[in-house]
Symmetry: C2
Subunit: 444 residues, 2 copies
């Protein structure tokens, strides 16, 4: 196999080639590092990267292979890690000067899981400030004048730019789906509680969810399969049998899936070309897609999300507020100031809405395999902002699995993402539905 | 076996005798009903009791036995149910006129578990108003001028008065341990999350814990063993292997347990005779008991408990507040009024203390098998109040298993309870330690 272009291999292809001895992990990581050397000045996806340390890991994996030690499904494959996820061998700075130089003593559970799967921990990708709204340095690989989206900016951009085949992010509102859509890669945020959050910066226990980025659906399945599991340190995880993501995502549905095209109460924020693109998309899907109106009362959900997020953030960032709020961005300071004044009563009332909201979707998901809706209002806006997460809010609040599919593009040539959403726990089937949808669109 | 005095059989004896065909469930239930007829005018332990319905259940169990159908460990044994625990065949009124006449459509999980174990659901026992502080009608069986304690007033009194061998209660502060101590029975509040709370009036998810009452330790183990388990509707329960409560509680410890006598920061509230009684008790235990001082900083825990309880109660009783707060007692109204003004930030800060508190006891429970401390300040006070829960607050907040042992009495002849507390999850061993302690005291 030619070493040229290795950086564009999918993780699944790369893992297979490494296992077959066709390429070494060192070759793959070297190709990715070369790509980073050339593209990083423009994209700026990395907060921390030590090429020697990445190559050291790669050579250790190659030695494992040579000496016949057992290897995992990601053996030798490099993964980028959002810089709010602790790594015991690299700094984790959370996108704020208040945590600059912070060096955790242990890996987050997901990082330990990746290492156990044989992955090479490539480095730390740029996050917005504390995974909220104030942008980091990263730019959209398709056009550096535009945002990559946030808060998992570096992870989405690094995967899109061919710097790593896989990356981890997190979503409390729209921080996986939105940057995936803006950067034109697949982004997957599984069901709340499916992936353990121990060792990841806490914004909001009720809303924080780990997500993954890749350039193929198969890779999304491969990465997600390594990360689900019970962690006694994450009270929202549950012991469960291993989910066969890869197998289910690759299988054919017995019946063509039925998709509910849902505009949601934030549809008015969708740009004209987004509206047109979705109308065309619905046409392509034909009888397998039905437009579905959600009750107007659902529009309160955006307020409940905000109450929960800001109240929990105020508690989790109490120390930062007390010690250094003048070093926080105005937007984060505003969130915390509001959060500190929320009454426990209003917080609990908002929380109590979540199970009722989820129940309200029972009938929809009994009939439809997935909800289809924009991933964002349009293509990536200019660099001053990370874009509007509103098209993700409802699904994040419900903890539903959501996936951004890089199926369309805008007049400016930037990617336009399609979001599909499934019921809680039905993550692997959502990937299967996505695969069907992608093939249907590509055929249409 | 003589039918006279069947009401004083322990549940373990009764279950054995029923299984052996020596007595019928109907005979047992009839004896308990006779006891209720004679003692109820004085004790007033029952909020709802339909003797015919109880006898109907007993006869059905006897028919099961006659026809050789499989039977559970409580086959034919009557159990009293605190009137905040839903029963699908009887009202559940929560001790407030606002819920008068309320008839649930389904059993609470614990009631369903009891039925699956073959128990006869005898009736509903008196609770204080919404399981908080305003007393119900129940009186102390040892002296009707004195309180039975609260909030599980009827359950403790009914077991003490020989009306049922077993009863269920609940504890959010001191609602199992305190009435058990005042009424001179065993009361056991297992680890938070061990017994599912689905179908039980919610005061505080973080603090509500189900408890059990019996006249013997063996019966406590027997009843607890039927009630532990996972319930998907109680997010604080976890799937776990069945705990062999009966077997472990009956076993001999390999080494004599070491007991930490802990006065706690509320020791100043202990009455003189309580102080003297505990000094004597420590003497009797000799080298197996060491006095242990807790850090003064722990005294903040009572405030954290109050913040959590009142904030969560305000959310859970929001409807009662909005629709009928003038029909609530002044004390409950005061709790809710305070709870409604608590900031989410302060609530979360208090919540965040719990795991740290629990960790702080690691060293103590590594060295000591159990903590020994008063169950209450003294014997039961006069009827105007249900007594002070302060000696239970710290242990409830930590979710530690706690047990009240009816080992002593005051100068007024009323019972004086000894509370022992163990580490989370070590419930069955705590019963074994209790058995050792009881035998040591009875021998001393």
């Amino acid at each position: 196999m030619d070493a040229m272009g290795l950086e564009w291999l999918s993780a699944s292809e790369a893992a297979r080639a490494i296992a077959a001895g066709e390429i070494s992990s060192e070759q793959l990581v070297e190709a990715c590092l070369a790509r980073i050397r050339s593209a990083e000045p423009r994209v700026q996806a990395w907060q921390y990267l030590d090429p020697d340390h990445a190559l050291l890991q790669a050579r250790a994996r190659d030695l494992d292979h040579k000496e016949g030690r057992p290897s995992g499904p990601l053996h030798g494959v490099p993964v980028g890690i959002k810089d709010i996820i602790d790594t015991g061998d690299m700094p984790t700075e959370d996108g704020t000067v208040l945590h600059a130089g912070r060096t955790p003593h242990a890996d987050a559970t997901v990082v330990a899981m990746l290492r156990a799967s044989g992955a090479v921990i490539m480095g730390k990708t740029v996050t917005t400030e504390c995974a909220t709204y104030a942008p980091g340095k990263t730019r959209n690989p398709h056009n550096p004048e535009h945002t990559p989206g946030g808060s998992s900016s570096g992870s989405a951009a690094a995967v899109a730019a061919g710097m790593v085949p896989l990356a981890l992010g997190s979503q409390t509102n729209g921080s996986v789906i939105r940057p995936a859509a803006y950067c034109g890669v697949y982004g997957f945020k599984p069901t709340h509680g499916l992936i353990p959050r121990q060792g990841i910066l806490k914004l909001s226990r009720s809303l924080d969810q780990v997500g993954v980025f890749a350039r193929t659906l198969e890779d999304i399945a491969l990465l997600a399969e390594q990360l689900t599991g019970f962690d006694e340190h994450d009270p929202d995880t549950r012991p469960r049998a291993r989910i066969p993501f890869v197998q289910l995502a690759a299988s054919e549905p017995a019946l063509d899936p039925l998709i509910a095209f849902v505009k949601t109460p934030v549809w008015e924020r969708a740009e004209d070309e987004t509206r047109e693109a979705f109308a065309e998309l619905a046409d392509v899907l034909g009888a397998q897609c039905q437009e579905l109106e959600l009750p107007v009362s659902l529009s309160d959900a955006w307020g409940w999300h905000r109450t929960i997020m800001e109240a929990e953030m105020a508690a989790n960032f109490d120390l930062e507020w007390e010690k250094g709020r003048d070093r926080l961005s105005e937007s984060l300071r505003g969130q915390l100031a509001r959060g500190r004044e929320i009454r426990a009563l209003d917080y609990h009332k908002a929380l109590a809405r979540i199970p009722k909201l989820i129940d309200g979707f029972d009938e929809i998901f009994a009939r439809y395999d997935a909800v289809m809706t924009p991933a964002a209002a349009g293509t990536a806006p200019a660099m001053a902002t990370t874009g509007d997460p509103a098209f993700c809010t409802l699904w994040t609040l419900c903890g539903f699995p959501a996936l951004s599919l890089p199926l369309m593009s805008g007049a400016n040539g930037l990617p336009l993402g399609v979001q599909i959403v499934g019921p809680r726990g039905d993550d692997a089937r959502l990937l299967r539905t996505a695969r069907w949808l992608v093939s249907r669109v590509q055929a249409g």
